[in-house]
Protein backbone atom coordinates (compact mmCIF):
# COMPACT_ATOMS: atom_id res chain seq x y z
CA UNK A 1 0.00 0.00 0.00
CA UNK A 2 2.64 2.42 1.07
CA UNK A 3 4.92 1.31 -1.70
CA UNK A 4 2.33 1.84 -4.37
CA UNK A 5 1.51 5.28 -3.17
CA UNK A 6 5.17 6.03 -3.19
CA UNK A 7 5.39 5.58 -6.90
CA UNK A 8 2.23 7.56 -7.33
CA UNK A 9 3.74 10.35 -5.38
CA UNK A 10 6.67 10.34 -7.70
CA UNK A 11 4.15 10.96 -10.41
CA UNK A 12 2.73 14.03 -8.83
CA UNK A 13 6.15 15.37 -8.63
CA UNK A 14 7.06 14.67 -12.21
CA UNK A 15 3.74 14.98 -13.89
CA UNK A 16 1.79 17.50 -11.94
CA UNK A 17 3.97 20.45 -11.31
CA UNK A 18 7.33 21.76 -12.05
CA UNK A 19 8.39 21.71 -8.47
CA UNK A 20 12.03 21.55 -7.64
CA UNK A 21 12.23 19.00 -4.91
CA UNK A 22 15.00 19.61 -2.49
CA UNK A 23 16.98 16.46 -2.93
CA UNK A 24 17.01 16.69 -6.68
CA UNK A 25 17.99 20.25 -7.10
CA UNK A 26 21.70 19.70 -6.96
CA UNK A 27 21.75 17.00 -9.53
CA UNK A 28 19.90 18.40 -12.49
CA UNK A 29 22.50 17.19 -14.87
CA UNK A 30 22.86 13.78 -13.36
CA UNK A 31 19.13 13.40 -13.47
CA UNK A 32 19.09 14.09 -17.15
CA UNK A 33 21.85 11.58 -17.55
CA UNK A 34 19.83 9.05 -15.64
CA UNK A 35 16.79 9.69 -17.74
CA UNK A 36 18.81 9.19 -20.87
CA UNK A 37 20.06 5.97 -19.41
CA UNK A 38 16.57 4.62 -18.82
CA UNK A 39 15.47 5.78 -22.25
CA UNK A 40 18.36 4.32 -24.19
CA UNK A 41 20.51 2.18 -21.95
CA UNK A 42 17.77 0.09 -20.48
CA UNK A 43 16.25 -1.11 -23.71
CA UNK A 44 19.72 -1.73 -25.06
CA UNK A 45 20.69 -3.86 -22.11
CA UNK A 46 17.40 -5.71 -22.27
CA UNK A 47 17.94 -6.14 -25.97
CA UNK A 48 21.38 -7.60 -25.42
CA UNK A 49 20.02 -10.05 -22.87
CA UNK A 50 17.28 -10.95 -25.29
CA UNK A 51 19.84 -11.49 -28.04
CA UNK A 52 21.96 -13.64 -25.78
CA UNK A 53 19.02 -15.85 -24.84
CA UNK A 54 18.17 -16.08 -28.49
CA UNK A 55 21.72 -16.80 -29.61
CA UNK A 56 22.22 -19.53 -27.05
CA UNK A 57 18.98 -21.12 -28.15
CA UNK A 58 17.21 -20.66 -24.86
CA UNK A 59 14.03 -19.62 -26.63
CA UNK A 60 14.45 -22.44 -29.05
CA UNK A 61 14.61 -24.93 -26.24
CA UNK A 62 11.85 -23.27 -24.32
CA UNK A 63 9.40 -23.27 -27.20
CA UNK A 64 10.86 -26.25 -29.04
CA UNK A 65 11.75 -24.11 -32.01
CA UNK A 66 14.32 -25.01 -34.60
CA UNK A 67 16.80 -22.67 -36.18
CA UNK A 68 15.04 -23.02 -39.51
CA UNK A 69 11.96 -21.52 -37.92
CA UNK A 70 13.81 -18.81 -36.07
CA UNK A 71 17.42 -18.36 -37.18
CA UNK A 72 20.13 -17.38 -34.73
CA UNK A 73 21.28 -13.77 -34.40
CA UNK A 74 24.77 -14.72 -35.46
CA UNK A 75 23.46 -16.19 -38.69
CA UNK A 76 21.32 -13.14 -39.27
CA UNK A 77 24.32 -10.91 -38.63
CA UNK A 78 26.29 -12.91 -41.11
CA UNK A 79 23.55 -12.60 -43.70
CA UNK A 80 23.48 -8.87 -43.13
CA UNK A 81 27.22 -8.65 -43.53
CA UNK A 82 27.12 -10.66 -46.73
CA UNK A 83 24.40 -8.57 -48.32
CA UNK A 84 24.90 -5.24 -46.68
CA UNK A 85 24.76 -3.12 -49.83
CA UNK A 86 21.68 -4.77 -51.18
CA UNK A 87 19.95 -4.63 -47.83
CA UNK A 88 20.71 -0.97 -47.31
CA UNK A 89 19.51 0.04 -50.72
CA UNK A 90 16.34 -2.01 -50.28
CA UNK A 91 15.78 -0.48 -46.86
CA UNK A 92 16.02 2.94 -48.44
CA UNK A 93 13.58 1.91 -51.13
CA UNK A 94 11.02 0.52 -48.72
CA UNK A 95 11.41 3.36 -46.29
CA UNK A 96 10.81 5.83 -49.10
CA UNK A 97 7.57 4.11 -49.98
CA UNK A 98 6.54 4.00 -46.35
CA UNK A 99 7.32 7.63 -45.60
CA UNK A 100 5.74 9.01 -48.75
CA UNK A 101 2.66 6.85 -48.39
CA UNK A 102 2.38 7.69 -44.75
CA UNK A 103 2.62 11.42 -45.36
CA UNK A 104 0.05 11.22 -48.10
CA UNK A 105 -2.28 8.94 -46.18
CA UNK A 106 -2.03 10.92 -42.96
CA UNK A 107 -2.68 14.16 -44.80
CA UNK A 108 -5.73 12.76 -46.52
CA UNK A 109 -6.95 11.29 -43.25
CA UNK A 110 -6.46 14.62 -41.54
CA UNK A 111 -8.36 16.48 -44.24
CA UNK A 112 -11.19 13.97 -43.98
CA UNK A 113 -11.29 14.56 -40.24
CA UNK A 114 -11.34 18.31 -40.84
CA UNK A 115 -14.27 18.03 -43.18
CA UNK A 116 -16.09 15.69 -40.84
CA UNK A 117 -15.58 18.01 -37.90
CA UNK A 118 -16.54 21.09 -39.91
CA UNK A 119 -19.72 19.63 -41.38
CA UNK A 120 -20.68 16.89 -38.97
CA UNK A 121 -23.94 16.08 -40.62
CA UNK A 122 -22.47 15.42 -44.03
CA UNK A 123 -18.88 14.71 -43.11
CA UNK A 124 -19.17 12.00 -40.48
CA UNK A 125 -19.91 9.43 -43.14
CA UNK A 126 -16.56 10.14 -44.77
CA UNK A 127 -14.71 8.98 -41.67
CA UNK A 128 -16.78 5.86 -41.79
CA UNK A 129 -15.88 5.27 -45.42
CA UNK A 130 -12.20 5.82 -44.84
CA UNK A 131 -12.36 3.50 -41.85
CA UNK A 132 -13.99 0.82 -43.94
CA UNK A 133 -11.09 0.95 -46.38
CA UNK A 134 -9.01 -0.32 -43.49
CA UNK A 135 -10.92 -3.57 -43.72
CA UNK A 136 -9.63 -4.23 -47.23
CA UNK A 137 -6.53 -6.36 -46.85
CA UNK A 138 -3.30 -5.73 -48.65
CA UNK A 139 -3.69 -8.94 -50.64
CA UNK A 140 -6.68 -7.30 -52.30
CA UNK A 141 -5.23 -3.82 -52.46
CA UNK A 142 -2.02 -4.97 -54.09
CA UNK A 143 -3.57 -6.22 -57.34
CA UNK A 144 -5.88 -3.22 -57.56
CA UNK A 145 -3.10 -0.74 -57.00
CA UNK A 146 -0.87 -2.66 -59.36
CA UNK A 147 -3.46 -2.23 -62.06
CA UNK A 148 -3.84 1.45 -61.37
CA UNK A 149 -0.27 2.44 -60.73
CA UNK A 150 1.76 -0.33 -62.35
CA UNK A 151 4.35 -2.30 -60.41
CA UNK A 152 6.63 0.58 -59.44
CA UNK A 153 6.89 2.46 -56.21
CA UNK A 154 3.60 4.19 -56.92
CA UNK A 155 1.47 1.19 -56.22
CA UNK A 156 3.03 0.64 -52.79
CA UNK A 157 2.71 4.29 -51.96
CA UNK A 158 -0.94 3.97 -52.83
CA UNK A 159 -1.29 0.89 -50.62
CA UNK A 160 0.36 2.62 -47.70
CA UNK A 161 -1.78 5.68 -48.30
CA UNK A 162 -4.96 3.67 -48.08
CA UNK A 163 -3.83 1.79 -44.98
CA UNK A 164 -2.76 4.89 -43.07
CA UNK A 165 -5.73 7.11 -43.79
CA UNK A 166 -8.10 5.52 -41.33
CA UNK A 167 -6.01 5.80 -38.19
CA UNK A 168 -5.44 9.48 -38.83
CA UNK A 169 -9.02 10.22 -39.81
CA UNK A 170 -10.47 8.50 -36.76
CA UNK A 171 -8.01 9.92 -34.27
CA UNK A 172 -7.96 13.45 -35.62
CA UNK A 173 -11.73 13.45 -35.77
CA UNK A 174 -11.90 12.40 -32.14
CA UNK A 175 -9.34 15.01 -31.17
CA UNK A 176 -11.16 17.79 -32.96
CA UNK A 177 -14.42 16.86 -31.31
CA UNK A 178 -12.93 16.42 -27.86
CA UNK A 179 -12.04 20.08 -27.44
CA UNK A 180 -13.48 21.82 -24.43
CA UNK A 181 -16.96 23.11 -25.32
CA UNK A 182 -16.17 26.38 -23.58
CA UNK A 183 -13.14 26.85 -25.77
CA UNK A 184 -15.45 26.42 -28.73
CA UNK A 185 -17.76 29.05 -27.27
CA UNK A 186 -14.85 31.46 -27.07
CA UNK A 187 -14.23 30.94 -30.77
CA UNK A 188 -17.87 31.47 -31.59
CA UNK A 189 -17.89 34.66 -29.59
CA UNK A 190 -15.19 35.96 -31.93
CA UNK A 191 -17.40 34.97 -34.86
CA UNK A 192 -14.56 32.76 -35.96
CA UNK A 193 -15.05 31.23 -39.37
CA UNK A 194 -14.88 27.46 -39.63
CA UNK A 195 -11.35 27.72 -40.90
CA UNK A 196 -10.29 29.91 -38.01
CA UNK A 197 -11.85 27.58 -35.47
CA UNK A 198 -9.57 24.93 -36.86
CA UNK A 199 -6.57 27.14 -37.09
CA UNK A 200 -6.77 28.50 -33.60
CA UNK A 201 -8.43 25.75 -31.66
CA UNK A 202 -9.27 22.42 -33.14
CA UNK A 203 -5.97 21.62 -34.74
CA UNK A 204 -4.00 22.43 -31.62
CA UNK A 205 -6.56 20.64 -29.48
CA UNK A 206 -6.35 17.54 -31.63
CA UNK A 207 -2.57 17.37 -31.75
CA UNK A 208 -2.21 14.75 -29.01
CA UNK A 209 -4.57 12.52 -30.94
CA UNK A 210 -2.92 13.36 -34.25
CA UNK A 211 0.47 12.36 -32.97
CA UNK A 212 -0.87 9.09 -31.67
CA UNK A 213 -2.16 8.44 -35.16
CA UNK A 214 1.19 9.39 -36.67
CA UNK A 215 2.87 6.93 -34.34
CA UNK A 216 0.48 4.18 -35.31
CA UNK A 217 1.05 5.08 -38.95
CA UNK A 218 4.81 5.09 -38.65
CA UNK A 219 4.68 1.40 -37.89
CA UNK A 220 1.77 0.46 -40.10
CA UNK A 221 3.27 2.26 -43.08
CA UNK A 222 6.45 0.20 -42.83
CA UNK A 223 4.58 -3.06 -42.62
CA UNK A 224 2.20 -1.92 -45.35
CA UNK A 225 5.08 -1.19 -47.69
CA UNK A 226 6.73 -4.50 -46.86
CA UNK A 227 3.64 -6.62 -47.37
CA UNK A 228 2.78 -4.57 -50.44
CA UNK A 229 6.11 -5.59 -51.91
CA UNK A 230 5.34 -9.27 -51.41
CA UNK A 231 3.11 -9.45 -54.43
CA UNK A 232 4.34 -7.39 -57.35
CA UNK A 233 7.54 -5.64 -56.42
CA UNK A 234 10.92 -6.67 -57.69
CA UNK A 235 12.78 -4.59 -55.17
CA UNK A 236 12.60 -3.69 -51.53
CA UNK A 237 12.77 -5.43 -48.20
CA UNK A 238 9.38 -7.07 -48.63
CA UNK A 239 10.36 -8.58 -51.93
CA UNK A 240 13.61 -9.93 -50.58
CA UNK A 241 11.96 -11.14 -47.41
CA UNK A 242 9.23 -13.14 -49.06
CA UNK A 243 11.61 -14.56 -51.61
CA UNK A 244 14.18 -15.55 -49.06
CA UNK A 245 11.73 -17.24 -46.76
CA UNK A 246 10.21 -19.22 -49.59
CA UNK A 247 13.58 -20.56 -50.66
CA UNK A 248 14.63 -21.42 -47.13
CA UNK A 249 17.06 -18.53 -46.73
CA UNK A 250 15.73 -17.78 -43.29
CA UNK A 251 18.73 -15.78 -42.08
CA UNK A 252 18.50 -13.48 -45.09
CA UNK A 253 14.76 -13.18 -44.60
CA UNK A 254 15.28 -12.27 -40.99
CA UNK A 255 17.94 -9.77 -41.84
CA UNK A 256 15.23 -7.99 -43.81
CA UNK A 257 13.02 -8.07 -40.75
CA UNK A 258 15.84 -6.73 -38.60
CA UNK A 259 16.52 -3.86 -40.96
CA UNK A 260 12.82 -3.10 -41.25
CA UNK A 261 12.57 -3.10 -37.48
CA UNK A 262 15.51 -0.77 -37.09
CA UNK A 263 14.18 1.58 -39.75
CA UNK A 264 10.70 1.42 -38.28
CA UNK A 265 11.84 2.11 -34.75
CA UNK A 266 13.91 5.08 -35.91
CA UNK A 267 10.97 6.39 -37.91
CA UNK A 268 8.79 5.97 -34.84
CA UNK A 269 11.12 7.78 -32.51
CA UNK A 270 11.58 10.67 -34.91
CA UNK A 271 7.84 11.16 -34.73
CA UNK A 272 7.89 10.86 -30.98
CA UNK A 273 10.54 13.57 -30.71
CA UNK A 274 8.46 15.73 -32.99
CA UNK A 275 5.52 15.15 -30.71
CA UNK A 276 7.48 16.12 -27.60
CA UNK A 277 8.44 19.29 -29.34
CA UNK A 278 5.01 20.16 -30.69
CA UNK A 279 2.88 19.52 -27.63
CA UNK A 280 5.08 20.60 -24.78
CA UNK A 281 2.02 22.25 -23.29
CA UNK A 282 0.04 19.06 -22.97
CA UNK A 283 -0.50 17.60 -19.52
CA UNK A 284 0.96 14.27 -20.59
CA UNK A 285 4.23 16.05 -21.35
CA UNK A 286 4.61 18.03 -18.13
CA UNK A 287 7.54 16.12 -16.76
Amino acid sequence: MVGVSGTELQEVRTEGIKAVPREMRISKRSRRKRRRFTAVGLPVIAGLCFLALWEFEVFHRLFQLRTYQLPLPSDIAKAIRDHVDLLLSYTGYTLTEAVLGMLLGSSIGFVVALLAAAWPKWGSASVLIVASLNAVPIVALAPIMNLWFSDGMGSRIAIVTVTTMAAMAINAHKGMNAVDPLAMDLMHSYAAKKLEVFRYLRVAGSLPYVFTALKINATSSMIGAIVGEFFYSSRGLGYLLSNSIKVAKMPLGWSCIVLAAVAGVIFYFIIERLEKWCIRWHSSQRT
Partner: protein, 270 residues
Protein backbone atom coordinates in the same frame (compact mmCIF):
# COMPACT_ATOMS: atom_id res chain seq x y z
CA UNK B 1 -42.08 10.33 -33.05
CA UNK B 2 -40.23 13.55 -33.44
CA UNK B 3 -37.00 11.88 -32.39
CA UNK B 4 -37.16 9.25 -35.06
CA UNK B 5 -37.85 11.95 -37.61
CA UNK B 6 -34.75 13.81 -36.50
CA UNK B 7 -32.77 10.61 -36.60
CA UNK B 8 -33.88 9.94 -40.14
CA UNK B 9 -33.06 13.42 -41.29
CA UNK B 10 -29.84 13.99 -39.40
CA UNK B 11 -28.15 10.62 -39.62
CA UNK B 12 -29.71 8.40 -42.19
CA UNK B 13 -30.19 10.92 -44.95
CA UNK B 14 -26.52 11.86 -45.27
CA UNK B 15 -25.53 8.23 -45.33
CA UNK B 16 -28.02 7.44 -48.03
CA UNK B 17 -26.87 10.42 -50.06
CA UNK B 18 -23.26 9.40 -49.63
CA UNK B 19 -23.87 5.84 -50.67
CA UNK B 20 -25.87 6.87 -53.71
CA UNK B 21 -23.28 9.47 -54.63
CA UNK B 22 -20.41 7.04 -54.43
CA UNK B 23 -22.29 4.42 -56.41
CA UNK B 24 -23.13 6.92 -59.14
CA UNK B 25 -19.62 8.32 -59.43
CA UNK B 26 -18.20 4.83 -59.43
CA UNK B 27 -20.58 3.59 -62.09
CA UNK B 28 -19.92 6.66 -64.20
CA UNK B 29 -16.17 6.36 -63.90
CA UNK B 30 -16.37 2.70 -64.70
CA UNK B 31 -18.37 3.43 -67.83
CA UNK B 32 -15.93 6.15 -68.79
CA UNK B 33 -12.91 3.89 -68.44
CA UNK B 34 -14.54 1.05 -70.30
CA UNK B 35 -16.44 2.77 -73.08
CA UNK B 36 -14.82 6.13 -73.59
CA UNK B 37 -11.16 5.61 -72.76
CA UNK B 38 -11.31 1.92 -73.62
CA UNK B 39 -8.27 1.15 -71.50
CA UNK B 40 -7.18 -2.46 -71.11
CA UNK B 41 -8.58 -4.36 -68.12
CA UNK B 42 -10.96 -1.48 -67.46
CA UNK B 43 -13.35 -3.70 -65.58
CA UNK B 44 -10.59 -5.04 -63.37
CA UNK B 45 -9.58 -1.53 -62.48
CA UNK B 46 -13.04 -0.25 -61.73
CA UNK B 47 -15.87 -2.69 -62.38
CA UNK B 48 -19.47 -1.80 -62.95
CA UNK B 49 -21.41 -1.59 -59.75
CA UNK B 50 -24.39 -3.30 -61.27
CA UNK B 51 -22.23 -6.26 -62.24
CA UNK B 52 -20.95 -6.52 -58.69
CA UNK B 53 -24.52 -6.31 -57.49
CA UNK B 54 -25.38 -9.11 -59.86
CA UNK B 55 -22.81 -11.40 -58.28
CA UNK B 56 -24.38 -10.57 -54.97
CA UNK B 57 -27.68 -11.90 -56.20
CA UNK B 58 -26.08 -15.09 -57.50
CA UNK B 59 -23.59 -15.72 -54.77
CA UNK B 60 -25.16 -13.73 -51.97
CA UNK B 61 -25.50 -16.85 -49.88
CA UNK B 62 -21.86 -17.79 -50.21
CA UNK B 63 -20.70 -14.26 -49.56
CA UNK B 64 -22.87 -13.96 -46.49
CA UNK B 65 -21.73 -17.32 -45.15
CA UNK B 66 -18.06 -16.65 -45.72
CA UNK B 67 -18.45 -13.09 -44.49
CA UNK B 68 -19.86 -14.43 -41.27
CA UNK B 69 -16.91 -16.81 -40.86
CA UNK B 70 -14.52 -13.91 -41.38
CA UNK B 71 -16.47 -11.76 -38.99
CA UNK B 72 -16.24 -14.37 -36.27
CA UNK B 73 -12.52 -14.81 -36.84
CA UNK B 74 -12.12 -11.06 -36.72
CA UNK B 75 -14.12 -10.90 -33.50
CA UNK B 76 -11.86 -13.40 -31.75
CA UNK B 77 -8.70 -11.71 -32.96
CA UNK B 78 -10.10 -8.33 -32.05
CA UNK B 79 -11.09 -9.32 -28.54
CA UNK B 80 -7.73 -10.85 -27.80
CA UNK B 81 -5.87 -8.01 -29.50
CA UNK B 82 -7.84 -5.33 -27.69
CA UNK B 83 -7.32 -7.06 -24.37
CA UNK B 84 -3.59 -7.46 -24.98
CA UNK B 85 -3.30 -3.89 -26.21
CA UNK B 86 -5.05 -2.43 -23.18
CA UNK B 87 -3.02 -4.58 -20.86
CA UNK B 88 0.22 -3.45 -22.42
CA UNK B 89 -0.92 0.16 -22.23
CA UNK B 90 -1.71 -0.23 -18.56
CA UNK B 91 1.64 -1.84 -17.86
CA UNK B 92 3.46 0.88 -19.72
CA UNK B 93 1.57 3.65 -18.01
CA UNK B 94 2.25 2.06 -14.64
CA UNK B 95 5.90 2.74 -15.00
CA UNK B 96 8.05 4.68 -17.40
CA UNK B 97 10.48 1.90 -16.85
CA UNK B 98 8.32 -0.73 -18.46
CA UNK B 99 7.45 1.66 -21.25
CA UNK B 100 11.01 2.44 -22.11
CA UNK B 101 11.88 -1.19 -21.92
CA UNK B 102 8.96 -2.56 -23.88
CA UNK B 103 8.15 0.15 -26.32
CA UNK B 104 10.96 -0.06 -28.83
CA UNK B 105 10.33 -3.77 -28.97
CA UNK B 106 6.61 -3.37 -29.38
CA UNK B 107 7.33 -1.10 -32.35
CA UNK B 108 9.93 -3.49 -33.72
CA UNK B 109 7.57 -6.42 -33.33
CA UNK B 110 5.13 -4.73 -35.67
CA UNK B 111 7.73 -4.99 -38.41
CA UNK B 112 7.65 -8.76 -38.47
CA UNK B 113 5.28 -9.70 -41.26
CA UNK B 114 3.00 -12.65 -40.82
CA UNK B 115 5.08 -14.55 -43.33
CA UNK B 116 8.02 -14.53 -40.93
CA UNK B 117 5.87 -14.85 -37.86
CA UNK B 118 3.78 -17.80 -38.94
CA UNK B 119 6.44 -20.52 -38.71
CA UNK B 120 7.34 -19.34 -35.23
CA UNK B 121 3.79 -19.14 -33.98
CA UNK B 122 2.91 -22.49 -35.49
CA UNK B 123 6.10 -23.87 -34.05
CA UNK B 124 5.22 -22.67 -30.58
CA UNK B 125 1.52 -23.32 -30.21
CA UNK B 126 1.21 -26.19 -32.67
CA UNK B 127 -2.48 -25.55 -33.06
CA UNK B 128 -3.82 -23.82 -36.13
CA UNK B 129 -6.86 -22.28 -34.55
CA UNK B 130 -4.90 -20.77 -31.68
CA UNK B 131 -2.16 -19.68 -34.04
CA UNK B 132 -4.66 -17.85 -36.22
CA UNK B 133 -6.23 -16.03 -33.33
CA UNK B 134 -2.82 -15.08 -32.01
CA UNK B 135 -1.75 -13.74 -35.36
CA UNK B 136 -4.83 -11.61 -35.87
CA UNK B 137 -4.54 -10.34 -32.31
CA UNK B 138 -0.95 -9.42 -33.06
CA UNK B 139 -2.16 -7.30 -35.94
CA UNK B 140 -4.77 -5.43 -33.89
CA UNK B 141 -3.11 -4.77 -30.57
CA UNK B 142 -0.83 -1.89 -31.45
CA UNK B 143 -3.29 0.92 -32.22
CA UNK B 144 -5.34 0.00 -29.18
CA UNK B 145 -2.29 0.09 -27.02
CA UNK B 146 -1.02 3.45 -28.25
CA UNK B 147 -4.35 5.20 -28.05
CA UNK B 148 -5.12 3.88 -24.64
CA UNK B 149 -1.70 4.80 -23.36
CA UNK B 150 -2.26 8.33 -24.54
CA UNK B 151 -5.57 8.38 -22.74
CA UNK B 152 -4.12 6.98 -19.54
CA UNK B 153 -1.33 9.50 -19.60
CA UNK B 154 -3.37 12.59 -20.28
CA UNK B 155 -5.60 12.71 -17.23
CA UNK B 156 -5.66 16.25 -15.91
CA UNK B 157 -3.17 16.94 -13.13
CA UNK B 158 -5.97 18.32 -10.97
CA UNK B 159 -8.03 15.14 -11.04
CA UNK B 160 -4.90 13.20 -10.21
CA UNK B 161 -4.30 15.42 -7.22
CA UNK B 162 -7.79 14.73 -5.98
CA UNK B 163 -6.94 11.04 -6.02
CA UNK B 164 -3.70 11.62 -4.18
CA UNK B 165 -5.49 13.61 -1.55
CA UNK B 166 -7.48 10.45 -0.84
CA UNK B 167 -4.22 8.51 -0.64
CA UNK B 168 -5.64 6.36 -3.39
CA UNK B 169 -3.53 3.36 -4.27
CA UNK B 170 -2.34 2.70 -7.76
CA UNK B 171 -5.11 0.29 -8.50
CA UNK B 172 -7.82 2.62 -7.30
CA UNK B 173 -6.41 5.48 -9.34
CA UNK B 174 -6.62 3.26 -12.35
CA UNK B 175 -10.05 2.09 -11.70
CA UNK B 176 -11.61 5.38 -10.67
CA UNK B 177 -9.68 7.87 -12.74
CA UNK B 178 -7.28 6.76 -15.39
CA UNK B 179 -9.42 4.09 -16.89
CA UNK B 180 -12.58 6.19 -17.34
CA UNK B 181 -10.48 9.10 -18.55
CA UNK B 182 -8.82 6.90 -21.14
CA UNK B 183 -12.07 5.59 -22.56
CA UNK B 184 -12.35 8.17 -25.36
CA UNK B 185 -8.83 7.30 -26.46
CA UNK B 186 -9.45 3.62 -26.05
CA UNK B 187 -12.52 3.83 -28.20
CA UNK B 188 -10.80 5.64 -31.01
CA UNK B 189 -8.12 2.96 -30.81
CA UNK B 190 -10.79 0.31 -30.99
CA UNK B 191 -12.35 2.04 -33.98
CA UNK B 192 -9.05 1.84 -35.77
CA UNK B 193 -8.52 -1.73 -34.67
CA UNK B 194 -11.96 -3.05 -35.55
CA UNK B 195 -11.65 -2.79 -39.32
CA UNK B 196 -8.04 -3.82 -38.96
CA UNK B 197 -9.21 -6.98 -37.26
CA UNK B 198 -11.16 -7.79 -40.40
CA UNK B 199 -7.98 -7.30 -42.43
CA UNK B 200 -6.17 -9.49 -39.96
CA UNK B 201 -8.79 -12.19 -40.19
CA UNK B 202 -8.61 -12.16 -43.97
CA UNK B 203 -4.83 -12.28 -43.89
CA UNK B 204 -4.94 -15.19 -41.51
CA UNK B 205 -7.41 -16.97 -43.74
CA UNK B 206 -4.79 -16.94 -46.43
CA UNK B 207 -2.60 -18.94 -44.09
CA UNK B 208 -4.26 -22.12 -45.20
CA UNK B 209 -7.88 -21.81 -44.21
CA UNK B 210 -10.60 -23.10 -46.47
CA UNK B 211 -13.38 -20.85 -45.30
CA UNK B 212 -13.76 -17.13 -45.14
CA UNK B 213 -14.00 -14.11 -47.38
CA UNK B 214 -10.21 -14.01 -47.80
CA UNK B 215 -10.22 -17.43 -49.36
CA UNK B 216 -12.70 -16.47 -52.07
CA UNK B 217 -10.89 -13.20 -52.54
CA UNK B 218 -7.59 -14.87 -53.31
CA UNK B 219 -9.09 -17.55 -55.49
CA UNK B 220 -11.03 -15.12 -57.62
CA UNK B 221 -7.95 -13.05 -58.20
CA UNK B 222 -5.98 -16.10 -59.13
CA UNK B 223 -8.48 -17.36 -61.66
CA UNK B 224 -8.20 -14.22 -63.67
CA UNK B 225 -10.17 -11.21 -64.89
CA UNK B 226 -13.21 -13.35 -65.66
CA UNK B 227 -13.75 -13.51 -61.92
CA UNK B 228 -13.25 -9.84 -61.33
CA UNK B 229 -16.80 -9.05 -60.21
CA UNK B 230 -16.73 -11.76 -57.63
CA UNK B 231 -13.37 -10.49 -56.42
CA UNK B 232 -14.77 -7.01 -56.06
CA UNK B 233 -17.77 -8.39 -54.24
CA UNK B 234 -15.45 -9.80 -51.64
CA UNK B 235 -13.76 -6.43 -51.35
CA UNK B 236 -17.17 -4.88 -50.82
CA UNK B 237 -18.04 -7.47 -48.21
CA UNK B 238 -14.76 -6.75 -46.43
CA UNK B 239 -15.48 -3.03 -46.46
CA UNK B 240 -18.97 -3.64 -45.15
CA UNK B 241 -17.64 -5.78 -42.37
CA UNK B 242 -15.32 -2.91 -41.54
CA UNK B 243 -18.20 -0.44 -41.50
CA UNK B 244 -20.23 -2.79 -39.39
CA UNK B 245 -17.46 -3.22 -36.82
CA UNK B 246 -16.87 0.51 -36.73
CA UNK B 247 -20.53 1.29 -36.19
CA UNK B 248 -20.74 -1.40 -33.55
CA UNK B 249 -17.86 0.10 -31.62
CA UNK B 250 -19.35 3.59 -31.99
CA UNK B 251 -22.60 2.35 -30.53
CA UNK B 252 -20.81 0.74 -27.61
CA UNK B 253 -18.93 3.99 -27.08
CA UNK B 254 -22.15 5.94 -26.76
CA UNK B 255 -23.26 3.59 -24.03
CA UNK B 256 -19.95 3.21 -22.25
CA UNK B 257 -18.68 6.79 -22.43
CA UNK B 258 -21.69 9.05 -22.91
CA UNK B 259 -20.23 12.06 -21.15
CA UNK B 260 -17.91 13.13 -23.97
CA UNK B 261 -18.31 16.63 -25.40
CA UNK B 262 -19.30 15.36 -28.84
CA UNK B 263 -22.35 13.60 -27.40
CA UNK B 264 -23.60 16.59 -25.44
CA UNK B 265 -26.61 18.32 -26.78
CA UNK B 266 -26.11 21.99 -26.89
CA UNK B 267 -28.77 24.06 -25.15
CA UNK B 268 -32.01 25.05 -26.81
CA UNK B 269 -34.32 22.29 -27.86
CA UNK B 270 -31.56 20.48 -29.69
Amino acid sequence: MKESGVFLRERLLPIVVWVLGILLVWEGASWYLLEVRQIPLAQSKLPYIHEIAATFTTYGGTLAKEGWVTFMNAAYGFLLGAAAGSLLAILMSLSKWVEQLAFPYAVASQMVPVLGLAPIVYGIVRDEETARILISAYITFFPVSLNMLRGLRSVSPASLELMHSYAAGGRTIYWKLRFPASLPGLFSGLKIAAPLAVTGAILVELMGASRGIGVIMLRNLYYGPSHVYMFWSTVVVGAFLGIFCYVLISAVERIAAPWQPEFRNKGGDG
